[in-house]
């Protein structure tokens, strides 16, 4: 086990010893600050929780994008750099090497999302004063605390991010192309929104099983679900199904593949 932790340590070293990771982290810190300063200048009665909410709902996609970049590179980069040949000829099975990569990727996502959340709380709290925040709750008289509400929102977003990032990881592993992984994942992230609006008009049951139709889990917090007429559990199950397929494909192909170029 200790030995396996060293594999994760290796993957972390390959993520955090690069300048780009620190540029991304700087951007993650910059965004809540910029949005809050904007609010300070333009908003007549700014409130901490409103801006914490704006940060994640308006800029959450950026965290996903950063994690997608890491996911795209973490396997494909070893192939394009040729280092895969040195990485695999160690006394470790390919499955474990890939698992170390996947864990390092999820840690990255978790770290960035947590850093974003904490910094968003800090900046907005300092600038607008800690407290208040019933405005962010969906209805008057809602008993939930703003912190619990926003944290649940982050939780739902995290689930979606994990699925998107796992898809990028799968493309990275199967096609060994970081460009394709980044391109497809981001296209799905943005195109998915538009497509789901269009596809929602199609009155066929299979539409509900399309991956991006089930994004938007957080609407549950406001009493809705991603797909009208389907319970939250349905969307969670569909996402879990896609996740399992992405993971299975990643491992199967990575394990079987001849490293031949």
């Amino acid at each position: 086990m200790a030995d396996f932790l060293r594999l994760i340590q290796n993957e972390n070293m390959k993520i955090y010893r690069r300048v780009r990771t620190w540029v991304m982290l700087a951007i993650v810190f910059f965004i809540p600050l910029a949005l809050a300063l904007g609010g300070l200048a333009l908003d007549s009665s700014p409130n901490m929780w409103t801006y914490v909410q704006i940060d994640i709902s308006a800029m959450g996609w950026l965290i996903t994008t950063f994690a997608v970049v890491i996911a795209a590179d973490i396997v494909a980069g070893e192939f394009s750099g040729g280092t895969i040949k040195l990485l695999l000829i160690r006394p470790w099975s390919r499955s474990k090497i890939l698992l170390a990569k996947y864990i390092a990727l999820l840690l990255f996502l978790l770290l960035f999302l947590t850093a974003f959340y904490l910094f968003s709380l800090l900046v907005n709290g300092v600038l607008f004063g800690f407290g208040g925040g019933t405005e962010v709750l969906p209805a008057d008289g809602d008993e939930r605390s703003p912190l619990a509400y926003i944290t649940a929102y982050y939780g739902f977003r995290l689930i979606e991010m994990i699925v998107t990032v796992t898809m990028a990881f799968m493309i990275s592993s199967v096609f060994r192309s970081s460009a394709l992984a980044i391109g497809l994942s981001i296209a799905m992230m943005f195109g998915g929104n538009i497509m789901s609006a269009i596809l929602a008009l199609v009155d066929k049951p299979w539409v509900d099983y399309i991956l991006f139709m089930n994004y938007g889990l957080a609407s549950y917090l406001n009493g809705g679900t991603p797909i009208a007429g389907r319970p939250l559990a349905f969307s969670l199950a569909v996402l879990a199904g896609y996740w399992a397929i992405f993971v299975a494909l990643s491992w199967y192909v990575f394990h079987r593949r001849d490293v031949a170029d």
Binding site: R6, Q9, M13, K85, L86, P91, S93, V259, A260
Partner: protein, 327 residues
């Protein structure tokens, strides 16, 4: 440094039979009917050979003959279609982790993580094998002569330095078998010479078995104890290069560079095989060559140089591969 002892398992009956044939030493590498087919094309066709321990073993063939594919199968990067490869008796197919832990390798170019320092690269690979202390990393860095630059990023390294770093990561865990694919590619003559000396040192002083592929015939001649020649995925020949029986006894064609070939022919009284540009070619063993030289000098012929013109490996290679067609 201490060479890690051999397989350390009870010998089977098959071993003892082979041991008798091999003079007691278990082969470090055994290929048995190794075949690789990709999409109906046979890339590697039924390769069978052994690499004895402590040798520098050359794997020679024209480009596209299947050298790299064979090496990739030996280290488990590619699967065999059929056949078996054993590293110190461990199957690379069924006991991968056991087998590969005995191997250090550079497959094609030593491509390291360019955005990390040389030291971080070594740390990375050291972490993947249990029981490599930091001290060992320093020791290896010293050994390959990278001490002054090891904390610089690899992207600032010259090709020669990357090659050294490649060797360093390959020997970190003191493997019994070192596999190098075209190791002299891109090295300058001084670098090639250094690598050659180092490989011979590893084989001689540490008992490491070195498996080197190359299409550079002259290199192989200088480096190896034995070469396997492969073409179009087929094994053509395995032959010893140096230290073989009869060196110096066996007659070879010797060229004497002289000022007056005619006079030399007269002085040697029919021993001359043919006249060559600027000299005469005589068939002679080591001692005879010295005698012939004395006779020429006595006859007043000036001798500028004496060298053997036995078929070089290159000639033999071209002969057996029929002119080195692309496989």
């Amino acid at each position: 440094m201490k060479f890690r002892a051999g397989a350390g398992r009870p010998l089977t009956e098959e071993d003892s039979v082979l041991d008798l044939q091999r003079g007691g030493a278990e082969p470090v590498v055994r290929l048995r009917n190794v075949t690789k087919r990709i999409g109906g094309r046979t890339i590697i066709d039924n390769l069978t050979f052994d690499v004895p321990p402590g040798e520098v073993f050359g794997f020679l063939g024209p480009n596209g003959s299947g050298k790299t594919t064979t090496i990739r199968m030996m280290v488990g990067l590619m699967r065999m279609t059929s056949g078996e490869i054993l590293i110190q008796g461990r199957s690379i197919r069924t006991e991968y982790e056991e087998a590969v832990s005995r191997i250090g390798a550079i497959v094609e170019n030593p491509e390291m993580y360019k955005y990390l320092t040389g030291y971080q690269n070594l740390l990375h690979f050291a972490r993947m094998v249990p029981g490599i202390p930091k001290k060992r990393i320093d020791e290896v860095v010293e050994l390959v002569g990278l001490t002054s630059r090891i904390h610089d990023k690899v992207k600032t390294y010259s090709l020669g330095m990357r090659q050294r770093l490649g060797v360093a990561q390959a020997i970190l865990h003191r493997p019994a078998l070192l596999i190098l694919d075209e190791p002299t590619n891109g090295l300058d003559p001084a670098g090639i010479r250094e690598l050659r000396d180092y490989l011979r040192h590893l084989a001689k002083n540490e008992g490491t078995t070195v498996f080197v592929s190359s299409h550079l015939l002259s290199e192989m001649e200088l480096m190896c104890d034995r070469v396997a020649i492969i073409q179009s995925g087929k094994l053509i020949d395995v032959r010893p290069i140096r230290g073989g029986a009869g060196v110096g006894v066996e007659k070879a064609e010797v060229l004497f560079e002289v000022d007056r070939p005619d006079a030399a022919v007269a002085a040697l009284d029919g021993a001359v095989v043919r006249m060559d540009s600027g000299g005469v070619v005589v068939s002679a063993g080591r001692e005879e060559a010295a005698d012939i030289n004395a006779r020429l000098v006595a006859a007043g012929v000036r001798v500028y140089g004496i060298r053997t013109v036995t078929k070089s490996l290159e000639d033999q290679f071209l002969e057996v591969t029929g002119g080195g067609r692309i496989g």
